[in-house]
């Protein structure tokens, strides 16, 4: 009946509008409009539902819940309960009858509202919001582009993480179009990521909003987070929020660990692959009281098998022993106080190099170099301790305000040798962040304000023995003999001391304006004082506009700063005989990031489909240029003098032709250039384009899952080797190569087994190491890796869960 009345009113309005307005008559239009609006509101009001949301205490007493989000499922139409727990909400045309109630600290619930119902009494039960999200949704997408977040964010869920071997964070991006993963060199097995055409050092990698991979952890840090510890990964491209500091330039990657309050009682995972690498993960969660829970996560990785399939005399992968422990305590008092405390310990020992390198007889002597009896090896031993304590206090009232305090501490010790060169690094980092958030007028206005600071103490040094051969002392007119070339005549030891102490403290303010989720604006700024670089001002702006149903446009612009850690970030250069040359007066790095993205959700053949296109430009104001091109026997580090930018355009299409079958196709084009010396050149080892296609099929109840991923990697520029002897020179560009991965998972009631393969096309980079036959000679260099060193690998594993 209400629908009839509305139709009549609309018809009436049309007649009146056509009559009066179109004829431009002088009848006073205002009272007429007012009357029509009244009429309309009257008819609309009987299309409202109202009610109250409450909770029952232990004694059965009813208490009103304020600030509860009440909205129609799958829409952005909603409201918030007032101080008495009451709400009023208009029905949405189209018959949507599922109402969702959500409040932090309570279980989200979905209520079926019948057509003639206009008043509801809703009871909510305590529990973590994340818990109900996992339990209630029947089938959640493995990886989805967040619709509501203002910053372009992709969330990788546990389902997506389990589609591939995903032994650790480095390997979790194989099915993601935005993040590239590659080996940074051909010897150490270290992985690096690239986001928006720039190295992972320019993104802020955090775990539960606590800084994770930065400083000395940069080269191998991605290996420090085991796959089974993660619940989800959020990848946000472009400039991020000022709340987390000024360090993000290209984006933010935030890892959420499994929380003890909703983790399995016992989880076991055993993995093995055809290279004879074995991994074991075990985690156990205990609920001590209904508010306090704890969990212990353990990871062990053992790889002792040496192999050399490309015949260059070097181990294709280093031997690795890794033990990782994580203990956390979580206290949740729903709606009042959440406290999370965690401690982590990691020990890792990597040993690589030539097949016949014997670590027990290693020394920094130069005897044996000339007659080839001295073998080349690398060894990296890491001891890392982390602790974090996060507290959030929630205040009652319509402002839904909260105060959070995040404290973290990292102690990282790394001792390594690369050939006869020695590296020592010790970092102590302490980070504190105090954040106050509040919202007004429903969710229309939100503010975030606070202060944060950190101290970073580094004790770092590198002792390099520079080797000189007889041919280097001969005049150019003389042609050197074999003996001239390879006889060692001199060596000199250089010690690079990079001790430094850095601290910064600052305040930030961020304002969010949300107009019924049709338009969202986030404007933030922070000011920090840094003891090394002075005052740093960081403005950041995000916009999100809903252009039409399912069509969202996002834009962002912001600044970021970072302090370079030249030895840790360029550790591949240490696996060479290149002389390190640091220009004096190196500054910090500063860049602007601009981004624009369009997301379109539509129905294709009445199935869900989504198309996203985005473009980002990162432009450096200050940068430390790492120049490998000027001389193949040196690396020059100097301040940028000229342009340095990264332009990236990406298009992504995902489609579900069947409920259980998902297809994702993406293409990305990179244009990354940097000014070296006085020439603007393409940045080395960044591929020009990349295409990705993933197919994922699951049978009913996910009993069988089939996953197939194909990556096409475009050519990238290889560092300049034209000044090397002709026989050692590498081509200018790397070839186009395909990476194919597949996995089959079979799920049983309490466990699941998975079998898969990586690099199924057995693509390998020919000669990834320059001058591999003489690793102590002038041109030895393992840092120019553009593709896999290891060919096809098969793996299998089992995951056991006891809830």
């Amino acid at each position: 009946m209400n629908v009839c009345i509305t139709r009549v009113v609309i018809h009436l309005i049309k007649i009146i509008v056509n009559d009066q307005f179109m004829n431009n008559s002088s009848i006073n239009k205002i009272p007429l409009i007012f009357f029509l609006m009244l009429l309309f509101t009257w008819t609309a009001s009987s299309q409202n539902i109202s009610g109250n949301v409450f909770e029952k205490s232990g004694s059965g007493k009813q208490g009103a819940l304020t600030g509860v989000n009440v909205y129609w499922a799958g829409t952005t139409t909603g409201t918030v309960t007032d101080e008495n727990g009451k709400f009023r909400l208009a029905r949405v045309q189209g018959g949507n009858s599922k109402l969702v109630v959500s409040l932090l600290g309570y279980r989200r619930d979905t209520i079926q509202v019948l057509k003639d119902k206009s008043k509801l009494n809703i009871e909510m039960f305590p529990g973590d919001r994340q818990l109900s999200e996992v339990e209630i949704k029947a089938r959640q997408d493995n990886s989805f582009v967040s619709k509501m977040k203002t910053q372009a964010t992709t969330v990788i869920n546990i389902g997506e993480l389990q589609r591939a071997a995903c032994c650790n964070l480095a390997e979790s991006f194989e099915t993601n179009a935005s993040v590239d993963v590659s080996y940074s060199d051909a010897v150490s097995g270290a992985r690096q990521i690239q986001l928006l055409g720039l190295s992972g050092i320019y993104s802020q990698i955090m775990a539960e909003n606590v800084p994770l991979i930065r400083g000395l952890a940069t080269p191998y840090g991605l290996n420090y987070v085991p796959g089974p510890w993660m619940e989800s990964i959020q990848v946000a491209k472009g400039t991020s929020s000022v709340v987390q500091g000024y360090e993000s330039i290209t984006g933010q990657i935030n890892v959420e660990y499994k929380k003890p309050e909703n983790a399995e009682k016992l989880y076991l995972n055993v993995y093995g692959n055809s290279n004879l690498r074995f991994e074991a993960n075990a985690s156990s969660a205990i609920k001590i009281t209904d508010k306090l829970s704890t969990s212990l996560l353990v990871h062990a990785d053992d790889f002792r098998y040496k192999f050399d399939r490309n015949g260059d005399g070097f181990m294709d992968l280093p031997k690795l022993t890794n033990i990782n422990l994580f203990n956390r305590w979580d206290f949740i008092n729903p709606g009042k106080w959440v406290s999370r405390l965690g401690v982590k310990y990691l020990y890792e020992d990597r040993n690589g190099g030539q097949m016949d390198f014997d670590k027990s007889s290693w020394n920094t002597d130069t005897t044996g170099i000339t007659n080839d009896t001295k073998k080349y090896g690398i060894g990296i031993r890491t001891n890392r301790f982390e602790a974090f304590w996060k507290n959030g206090v929630f205040f009652k009232g319509s402002a839904q305000s909260s105060l959070g305090l995040i404290l973290s501490f990292i102690n990282h010790q790394q001792d390594a040798f690369y050939g006869i060169n020695l590296y020592h690094g010790h970092e102590q980092n302490f980070n504190a962040n105090l954040i106050y958030t509040a919202q007004f007028d429903g969710e229309k206005h939100k503010i975030s304000a606070g202060a944060s600071g950190f101290t970073d103490n580094y004790s770092e040094n590198y002792v390099q023995t520079r080797l000189a051969y007889r041919y280097q002392y001969l005049p150019d007119t003389v042609t050197p003999t074999y003996a001239d070339k390879f006889t060692l005549v001199n060596d000199s030891v250089y010690t690079y001391v990079m001790d430094r102490r850095e601290w910064a403290a600052g305040g930030f303010f961020e304002y969010t304006f949300n107009l019924k989720d049709k338009f969202t604006l986030i404007a933030g700024a922070r000011g920090d004082y840094n003891n090394r670089w002075g005052f740093l001002f960081t403005p950041r702006l995000h916009l999100r506009v809903t252009l039409a149903k399912g069509l969202a446009l996002r834009g962002s612009v912001g600044k970021g700063y970072r302090s370079p850690n030249l030895l840790a970030e360029n550790s591949p250069m240490l696996i060479s005989q290149r002389v390190l040359n640091f220009a004096p007066g190196l500054t910090n790095e500063e860049a602007w990031n601009f981004g624009l993205s369009l997301t379109w959700d539509f129905n294709l053949f009445s199935r869900k489909a989504e198309f996203t296109v985005d473009g980002y430009r990162t432009s450096f104001v200050k940068q430390t240029v790492v120049d490998q091109d000027s001389l193949p026997t040196a690396v020059f580090f100097y301040n940028l003098n000229g342009q340095s930018y990264a332009n990236v355009v990406q298009a992504q299409f995902s489609f579900q032709p069947l409920k259980q079958f998902t297809v994702l196709a993406a293409f990305r084009y990179n244009d990354v250039k940097v000014t070296e010396g006085n020439r603007l050149v393409q940045k080395a080892l960044v591929n020009q384009y990349k295409a990705l296609l993933t197919l994922s099929y699951a049978t009913r109840f996910d009993k069988w899952k089939f996953d197939l991923t194909g990556q096409l990697n475009g050519p990238s520029r290889i560092p300049d080797t034209r000044k090397m002897p002709a026989v050692l020179q590498l081509p200018e560009k790397s070839p186009v190569w395909f990476n194919l991965l597949a996995q089959i998972t079979k799920k049983f009631r309490n466990f699941e087994i998975y079998v898969g393969g990586e690099n199924l096309l057995n693509v390998r980079q020919d000669n990834p190491i320059v001058e591999y036959f003489k690793p102590y000679h002038t041109h030895f260099d393992a840092s120019m890796a553009w593709g896999p060193v290891v060919g096809i690998t098969g793996y299998a594993g089992i995951r056991l869960t006891i809830k």
Binding site: D109, Q112, E135, A138, R700, L708, F748, L760
Partner: protein
């Protein structure tokens, strides 16, 4: 080119995997039964469906939370309606005239218990 052949081959392999999985799940006999449960909220839908999915002989299971009736498609040579009711009871829910197993019922989350606030209609 060799690469193209391998890609084609893996596509065919993948298609084969899909077909065999589909064939695998096909079976000759099929019967359907409707059982009334004591399911209360949306969370129970997942618990019952996921819990019954691995019971021997169960092909498909759908719970309608409003009517509390679960519709199970099963292979009559592998299981019987009585065994299905027993399995639901072991998950902590009533099944027609079979009462929920006490131990399993106690493990249910608050909103799923029979005397919890009923779903508002």
């Amino acid at each position: 080119m060799k690469t193209k052949n391998v890609i084609l081959g893996s596509m065919v392999l993948f298609a084969l995997m899909l077909v065999s999985a589909a064939a695998f799940s096909q079976d000759k006999k099929e019967a359907t039964i409707k059982i009334k449960t004591s399911a209360v909220c949306d969370m129970c839908k997942d618990r019952i469906e996921q819990g019954m999915a691995y019971e021997k002989g169960v092909k498909n299971i759908v719970l309608d939370v409003d009517t509390k009736i679960v519709t199970i498609t099963y292979n009559p040579s592998k299981t019987t309606p009585d065994e299905l009711r027993k399995a639901i009871s072991k998950l902590g829910y009533d099944a027609d005239n079979v009462l929920a197993d006490k131990a399993a019922y106690n493990k249910l989350p608050a909103c799923c218990k029979k005397d919890a606030a009923p779903k508002k209609k």
